[in-house]
């Protein structure tokens, strides 16, 4: 009977309202780039004692100890920084390590991963509740929602959506490209464009040249990494698979910040910049 009442309560209240709250936590480990960004955006970076390898923004955060890659955490490593709260993306692991951390009486707040504006706003509320900063979180959530709304109206004014191909990496001429259910697919959609591979498959795949040629993208999108010389516009657009595409004809090549692939407080801004970049690329008519 009691359990039934609890279930009812769980159904009646949205997740954010009865999310766990630890306002007194002063030694927090933040795991996952977007989670860390939210903590910082809420002005709580002084409460962080460690972060994971994927947390690299803002740059000051890199001064904190690094507990390793978020899917390969070490229980003793995390405990060595004496955390009283761990906020993490729900894709972190391994599961055994999270179990060991729970056994050591360290509360863990998990933030749902997702590539939609709703997921970002929800993550802000969950992190805000965990930190006990409801007001700041509500303000940030409202601002973020407004940003996404502004983006949507800007998107509506745009012309026909560009067909975009996101290339994760160029492996010696073989291209690893994004399908649906990826951060790239999400940000392309938010920027008012269409992922040419969105209907084809899920995740990232190395595609054969003929499938790429058939997709005929208007714009090629890649991550902006200084060290990666195989990702130059000319190198990519002269590959046989893309040489005949509209993208090669109009030199439609755009680079984005790698951080845009993880959805966080900066996502609306990334999408806005990307929207403008796509419009520019489409305008450079042949």
């Amino acid at each position: 009977m009691k359990r039934f009442a609890l279930t009812l309560a769980a159904l009646a209240f949205p997740a954010a309202l009865w999310a766990e709250s630890y306002p007194d936590a002063r030694s927090i480990v933040s795991i996952g780039g977007p989670v860390t960004e939210i903590v910082v955006a809420l002005g709580q970076q002084d409460r962080l004692v460690a972060r994971d390898t994927t947390s690299q923004y803002p740059p000051e955060i890199e001064a904190l100890p690094d507990v390793g890659y978020m899917r390969q955490l070490s229980a003793e490593g995390v405990l060595s920084v004496a955390p009283d709260l761990i906020i993490t993306r729900n894709t972190a692991g391994p599961v055994e390590v999270l179990d060991q951390l729970r056994a050591a009486a360290v509360p863990i707040v998990e933030v749902e991963d997702g590539f939609t504006p709703e997921a970002v706003v929800n993550a802000i509320r969950v992190v805000g509740a965990a930190l006990g900063t409801h007001d700041a979180a509500e303000a940030l959530a409202t601002k973020t929602e407004a940003d996404f709304a502004a983006l949507a109206s800007e998107r509506a004014k745009g012309a026909a959506p560009a067909k975009v191909l996101f290339i994760l990496s160029n492996q010696n001429g073989r291209l690893n490209v994004a399908g649906r259910g990826t951060g790239a697919d999400g940000i392309i959609g938010l920027a008012g464009a269409e992922n040419v591979m969105g209907a084809e498959f899920e995740g990232y795949r190395i595609l054969n040249d003929e499938a790429l040629a058939a997709a005929a993208p208007d714009v090629v999108l890649m991550m902006d990494r200084q060290e990666d010389h195989s990702a130059d516009a000319d190198t990519i657009l002269s590959l046989p698979a893309l040489a005949q595409s509209p993208a090669a004809a109009r030199h439609g090549f755009v680079k984005i910040n790698p951080a845009a692939l993880g959805f966080g407080p900066r996502t609306a801004e990334f999408a806005r910049v990307l929207h403008l970049a796509f419009a520019d690329a489409m305008q450079a008519e042949n």
Partner: protein, 362 residues
């Protein structure tokens, strides 16, 4: 020729069997002491260096007070890791020595009978396809699905290989080697096919699984895999006399009264069980199975009766040291242990090899 090369070495004395045995016994005592010491270090030293070790140990025994954090670090993190590293190191080293004796080939390792490839296939399948399991089964296996699948894969692939190589009650070592290569290629292709279907997160998991780690060690896994490894370790010395006889060739061993077929069967199954169980908890850890037996042969000679126990001790020590390094050197993060064993073991093995090349080349 032998005398000449020994003179080149600056008059290194010829080692008589009696000396070797005495040397091996001395080595065993030394290694046992060293193992005890390394286990203590492993328990007492880690990333969380403010842990009050003695109090935490005492707390579970009702002798002292300690925080829940310290108790967890000692009893549920460091202790299962220590036991796992020791057991797995011992099992890999002994399995390597047994395989080298059985195949009479210095390069043999458990991978030859398909354990590693099969376990790899099992693990990859579990990581990538685990989500497709019926909910009831997934709830039953839970976090241990990967370990379970790795053990099953390793075991199944050895059984298949053994069946292929056995005809009319005789197992051909040559057929087993060659069929092992064919089966390895097939398993590799299947693994590759599943890897191709994996998503980004799963790919990362796969990469790390291949580099091995003792980090996921828990009491629950030890309770499942530990007894299998322990049984294999206890059984191994009974193979020693047979393996020593086998080094003279199968016909001679048979004339000496060794039941060669039985020996092969027990050796293969022992290795499959212990390595399968080891790989299941720690993922792929290379190198221990080759380096440890060779190192010992250089020092104490090839006799299995003394080689197997010492290999167990040295394997345990080596993996414990590698684990201590892997969890402290980049703390609070952690290096995969396979990287450490190869980085340490490679140059060290080369050094020993170059110093003793006269013995090897004579």
């Amino acid at each position: 020729m032998v005398a000449l090369s020994q003179m080149d070495e600056g008059g290194a004395p010829a080692i008589r069997p009696g000396d070797r045995r005495a040397r091996a016994r001395g080595l065993r005592a030394g290694l046992a002491v060293l193992l005890g010491f390394v286990m203590l270090v492993s328990l007492g030293w880690g990333a969380a260096d403010d842990t009050r070790v003695l109090a935490a140990i005492g707390a579970r025994l009702g002798l002292a007070e300690a925080s829940l954090r310290d108790i967890t670090i000692i009893w549920d993190i460091r202790m299962p890791r220590m036991v796992t590293a020791a057991l797995v190191g011992a099992s890999l080293a002994v399995a390597g020595a047994v395989m080298q004796g059985l195949f009479r080939n210095p390069l043999a390792d458990p991978g030859l009978v398909g354990v590693s490839a099969g376990a790899g296939l099992g693990a990859v399948a579990a990581i990538v396809l685990g989500g497709f399991l019926p909910a009831a089964l997934a709830a039953f296996t839970g976090a241990y699905l990967v370990s379970f699948a790795a053990f099953l894969g390793g075991w199944a692939s050895v059984i298949v290989l053994y069946r292929i190589a056995t005809r009319g009650g005789h197992t051909s070592v040559a057929t087993m080697l060659l069929a092992g290569i064919a089966l390895g290629a097939l398993t590799g292709a299947l693994t590759g096919f599943i890897v191709y279907r994996a998503n980004d997160d799963q790919l990362r998991d796969l990469t790390f699984w291949g580099m091995g780690s003792v980090a996921g060690a828990t009491w629950a896994k030890l309770v499942a895999a530990g007894p299998i490894i322990a049984c294999a370790l206890v059984a191994a010395p009974f193979l020693a006399r047979g393996l020593d006889a086998l080094s003279l060739g199968e016909p001679v061993a048979a004339h000496m009264g060794i039941h060669v077929q039985k020996l092969k069967r027990i050796a293969v199954l022992t290795v499959a069980a212990s390595v399968g169980a080891s790989v299941a908890i720690t993922g792929g850890i290379g190198f221990v199975g080759i380096v440890v037996p060779h190192l010992l042969r250089l020092v104490q000679g090839p006799e299995h009766r003394t080689l197997l126990p010492n290999a167990a001790l040295l394997g345990a020590i080596l993996l414990l040291i590698a684990d201590i390094i892997s969890r402290t050197v980049v703390a609070p993060a952690e290096l995969p242990i396979g990287i450490v064993t190869a980085t340490l073991g490679g140059p060290f093995f080369l050094w020993i090899l170059l110093r003793n090349r006269a013995i090897l080349e004579s």
